[in-house]
């Protein structure tokens, strides 16, 4: 017992290691975390997969053996206890019981004994009477079957551990150890995976993943073993007809389900099934669970829109591109890795979260009324988005996340393209304004004009002519305005408002800076207006009107243009259409230990309840000639309830002993 308990303690400690250290991560993560020195050391001790490590299984095995040994050792004693009545107990030992009392009785011993026997029977005691010289001993007991609780509980632990051991798949571990099977790397074609890393359908116990895109079929499960994989052949093929995700109104997922077709590889028979979270499907002893989902290679129709500095931008009409999620493409010098697609993005409508109110108000609000706040943020689906990595010739990659549809922010519609350099950062979004027709074209056309140094002169001149028509002022003033406007456009084309600001700081005394800035903004807006007129003409649209909204659009365009100069790529990809293909990740397991484990669990529950609440009692009544009656009581487990029971029995028996045996029978003193 002591051995088993200390083993349990060690297992508890091992479990703590397993919790503190994240298990079954890619080995590179551990290498980064612990460095060259500790990494191999920890690997030897199996700390990256504590629960599958040899020493942990050995501990479990020891636990099974010692608990079994304990069971075997204790069994004869328990059997003796269950069978025996101890009818040969001596008076002297009875007097040493913690609970004993000596009563007087009237009448003869022979008259009292049947009454006592009836009393014992009535209270559920079985007994043996033992006649000795001048005395009769009733050795009674009840509930000795409760001792079975010990077998059930401890036998259950052995059963559960054996079941667990069966699922630990020792034969496979042995084959891996002997080199008969070798794990391989996951990043290779299935056909290239050697026979030594494949397991046949006869493998008794496994747990692996099937990645199935919609419309495709799979009959191999991937088992993650240590730092590599093994392939498990299944006796059937699973083809995914459709993967379904339902959502709540909040956008939170409500249901994941895979509509699959199972085809038995031996008989060729097919069955339609639906695998859902919490609703697995079992076929031929293998159970399929909905584990996860992914993109299965969605086709993205893309428009390449120039952005960033004009100097690196290829001119001409926008290119189009077709990308497939999970694959890569090229554009110019860049490799594009298409990493993901989401058909649905539910975002809060109000961009600002509700302000923090004082504690008292929050209390009055949150602890009154229903479990739903009136000020709950409204959510809406803003449509599809996709992400890609752009890798330049030096191998540097940046990650982008673009929305397909425009988003309304502060009363205006924008297209959003997000970028981040590091996967731990959130995306920073560049907002591109849409024109009154809801199109991006005006912005693109204006941008190619305003940021192209070759067009600055003509824009500036047209702007100057319109601002100061010939005849009202001299040619020189007009030329000076055109020059200033051109300089401003050149400045702006470098780094947007940043370079304009730096120019002002460097050249204008601080008292006049604000005024100068206003002038520069006026100039830029004037040029932008000119660019807008040109853009409309080029796009074949009617000339723009001077509405308030046009002014707002010009400002938004200038801001977006200024920001776009910091965009770390010469183009962004606009999603114009898609053909979504989802993929489902199913988990396939064969678990022969499941039945013994659950049997063990049932035994354990019953056993624990019996052990904790079983009431085994022994009652000894020694009727001695001369009117003396010794009552003694004991139990397998001491408790306060036992003392109370003893008191009730001794009172009940005392009443009988003094009643003169009128045959009325014992009174019902207590229900035990």
């Amino acid at each position: 017992m002591r051995f088993a308990v200390s083993l349990l303690a060690i297992i508890a400690i091992a479990s703590i290691i397993g919790t503190v250290l994240k298990q079954n991560e890619p080995y590179n993560n551990y290498l980064n975390q612990f460095g060259q020195f500790w990494f191999p050391l920890f690997e030897i001790f199996g700390l990256y997969s504590v629960y599958g490590s040899g020493w942990f299984l050995l501990l479990l095995a020891f636990l099974v053996i010692s608990t079994s040994a304990c069971l075997i050792r204790q069994t004869p004693g328990i059997l003796r206890e269950m069978r025996g009545f101890r009818e040969h107990a001596q008076e002297i030992s009875l007097r040493q019981f913690g609970l004993h009392i000596e009563l007087d009785y009237r009448g003869t011993r022979e008259a009292l004994t049947p009454v006592l026997a009836a009393y014992l029977r009535e209270h559920g005691y079985r007994f043996r009477s033992n006649l000795r010289s001048g005395a009769t001993l009733f050795a009674a007991k009840s509930g000795s079957w409760h001792r079975t609780g010990y077998w059930l509980a401890h036998g259950a632990i052995v059963t559960i551990c054996l079941g667990g051991l069966a699922d630990g798949n020792l034969p496979l571990k042995l084959r891996l150890l002997l080199g008969d099977k070798v794990v391989t790397q996951g990043n290779q074609a299935i056909s290239a995976i050697p026979e030594s890393a494949r397991l046949g359908p006869d493998n008794p116990s496994f747990r692996g993943n099937l990645f199935i895109p919609e419309g495709q079929s799979q009959s191999l499960a991937v088992l993650n073993v240590r730092d590599g994989i093994l392939l498990q052949e299944l006796p059937f093929a699973v083809s995914l007809k459709r993967f379904v995700i339902d959502h709540y109104a909040t956008g939170a997922p409500k249901r994941f389900a895979s509509e699959i077709l199972l085809t038995d590889r031996a008989t060729g028979q097919s069955f339609e099934r639906v695998v859902e979270v919490n609703h697995p499907v079992t076929y031929r002893g293998i159970t399929l669970y909905q584990a996860s989902f992914d993109d299965g290679g969605t086709r993205l129709n893309l428009v390449v829109q120039p952005l960033g500095k004009m100097t690196d931008t290829p001119r001409g009409a926008a290119d189009t591109l077709v990308g497939v999620v999970g694959e890569s493409g090229r554009h110019g010098d860049y490799t594009i890795e298409f990493t993901g697609f989401r058909a649905l993005n539910v975002e809060p409508l109000d961009s600002e979260p509700t302000q923090t109110k004082p504690l008292r108000e929050r209390f009055a609000e949150r602890f009154a009324g229903s479990g739903r706040n009136a000020d709950q943020r409204r959510m809406a689906n803003v449509g599809p988005s996709f992400s890609y990595k752009l890798r330049d010739t030096s191998g540097q990659a940046k990650e982008f996340n673009n929305y397909m549809f425009p988003v309304s922010i502060q009363g205006r519609w924008w297209l959003l393209t997000g970028v981040r350099e590091n996967p731990n950062e959130p995306f920073r979004y560049l907002r591109l304004p849409l024109d009154a027709d809801g199109r991006i074209d005006t912005f693109v056309a204006m941008r190619t004009r305003l940021l192209d140094p070759g067009q600055h002169r003509s824009i500036a001149q047209t702007f100057a002519r319109r601002s100061l028509p010939s005849g009202t002022t001299s040619e020189t003033v007009q030329t000076r305005l055109a020059d200033t406007a051109q300089r401003t456009l050149q400045l702006f084309a470098e780094q947007g408002f940043d370079s304009v600001g730096r120019f002002i700081e460097a050249n204008v005394p601080s008292a006049e800076r604000e005024q100068a800035a206003e002038v520069f903004v006026k100039l830029l807006e004037g040029c932008a207006w000119q660019a807008l007129i040109d853009a409309h003409a080029a796009l074949g649209r009617p000339a723009p009107t001077t509405e308030a909204d046009t002014a707002a659009f010009l400002r938004a365009t200038l801001t977006a243009m200024s920001d776009s100069l910091h965009y770390p790529a010469p183009f962004w990809l606009q999603l114009s259409g898609y053909d979504e293909v989802k993929a489902s990740v199913l988990q396939a397991t064969r678990s022969p230990g499941m039945t013994p484990v659950f049997l063990g669990c049932a035994l354990l529950t019953v056993g624990v309840l019996i052990m904790l609440y079983g009431r085994e009692r022994r009652l000894f009544l020694l009727v001695q000639d001369g009117g003396k009656l010794l009552v003694a009581m004991s139990a397998h487990r001491k408790s306060l309830a036992l003392a109370a029971e003893f008191r009730e029995h001794s009172q009940g028996i005392a009443r009988l002993a003094n009643s003169g045996f009128d045959g009325s029978g014992p009174t019902r003193a207590a229900d035990v």
């Binding site: 919790t19 919490n278 109370a644």
Partner: protein, 381 residues
């Protein structure tokens, strides 16, 4: 042995109230039949089994412990009143006086919290001022808090369906909701043992742990807005949740109670407050009783969890941090029971152990959610 320390309250064994018991059973049966007639077509086999099982459990509990019947009836009546006042419109929580200030779930849970804090204060006054009256007030407040808390959870259940039919679920699905459950179960276990054992003034200790839970609950709602009803993620949409979670919390509640009894035992053993506390034997027995019932339920809960895991995740056990810590808690109390039952150990060693057990239990309950990530990340902080 001191005969005055009768562990069994004679009243609780009396058969005098049998008509009351039968009447209670009839009320339960009536309620179940009404539920079956009105909602039976929407329930599957498991839900029917859980409904009938709940009825039988409540009947058995009421038969054995009559006071629990009163609690069921009062909180059930309050919840029915709330449902009636709602008339299918959640907005009425803000419009109807009785809902806004008493019966809507957050109002009722707010009342529960306040009443538990007041009960703690009353028990402490009773202990320090040797005032049986104050202790009686503490007991009354604890009952009232339990009734309102239960009614609040039931109202919350209804409210979740009012938000949207597909939102509806039993309110034991996140950390906020199970904290309310924890308060209620611990309070009920305390009230049960208080009625059965001469456990004068023990409430001062057991209510401390409930107050701590109430403190957490308030912080969680006020700072994190955790009181909002959220829809169920697919992994939690299972009938197993209805039995796995409550079973677990009977375990947690009982272990917390045992630790508080252990504090009293350690104090009484050193003579501190000894004349005002139950005898060391009674405390020892109480501690054992609490751990025994906690262990039985925790075993059951872990097994139910394994059954559910097999259905949802594909394996009955995969050493997820919550599972691992459940095992550690289980092993801890298994060792405690071995020491007491086979070694016959008693007294302060086991009391310290039970107190340490509370740390282990709290880590399994809260720490795992705070510091570790895993499959059970439903109530992350």
């Amino acid at each position: 042995m001191d005969i005055a320390d009768t562990p069994i309250n004679p009243d609780s064994r009396s058969r005098l109230a049998s008509p009351g018991r039968w009447a209670y059973a009839l009320v339960l049966a009536f309620g179940t039949i009404v539920t079956l007639v009105r909602y039976g077509e929407h329930m599957d086999g498991f839900e029917l089994a859980i409904l009938v099982g709940t009825t039988l459990t409540l009947a058995a509990l009421g038969w054995h412990w009559l006071a629990s019947a009163a609690l069921t009836l009062v909180s059930g009546a309050l919840a029915l009143l709330a449902i009636d006042l709602y008339r299918g419109d959640l907005a009425r929580a803000e419009q109807v006086f009785a809902l806004k200030y008493l019966l809507a779930s957050q109002s009722a849970i707010g009342w529960m919290s306040m009443l538990f804090l007041m009960a703690t204060a009353a028990y402490w006054i009773g202990l320090l001022a040797r005032s049986p009256f104050a202790s009686a007030v503490g007991r009354g407040l604890t009952w009232a808090a339990s009734a309102l808390g239960t009614a609040g959870l039931l109202a919350r259940w209804h409210e979740s369906y009012l938000i949207a039919p597909d939102y509806g679920h039993i309110p034991i699905s996140n950390l906020y909701e199970v904290f309310v459950l924890f308060c209620l179960i611990t309070a009920l276990l305390h009230l049960y043992y208080e009625g059965r054992y001469p456990s004068r003034n023990l409430g001062a200790f057991t209510l401390l742990v409930i107050s701590a839970a109430v403190g957490f609950l308030m912080w969680y709602a006020l700072e994190r807005g955790a009181h909002e009803i959220q829809p169920l993620i697919p992994a939690l949409q299972s009938y197993w949740m209805k039995i796995h979670v409550p079973a677990n919390f009977v375990g947690y509640g009982a272990f917390a109670l045992a630790a508080m009894v252990a504090v009293a035992l350690l104090l009484a053993g050193r003579g501190v407050l000894a004349p005002r506390l139950p005898s060391v034997q009674v405390l020892d027995e109480l501690m054992y009783r609490a751990i025994a019932i906690g262990f039985a339920f925790f075993t059951l809960a872990t097994i139910l969890g394994a059954l559910w895991a097999a259905e949802a995740w594909g394996t009955y056990w995969q050493w997820d941090p919550k599972e691992t810590w459940a095992l550690i808690v289980w092993l801890n109390y298994a060792a405690w029971l071995h020491l007491r039952l086979t070694r016959g150990l008693r007294g302060s060693v086991l009391a310290w152990w039970a107190l340490g057990g509370l740390l282990v239990t709290s880590f399994a309950f809260l720490g795992v959610n705070m510091f570790l990530s895993g499959l059970h990340s439903y109530g992350s902080l």
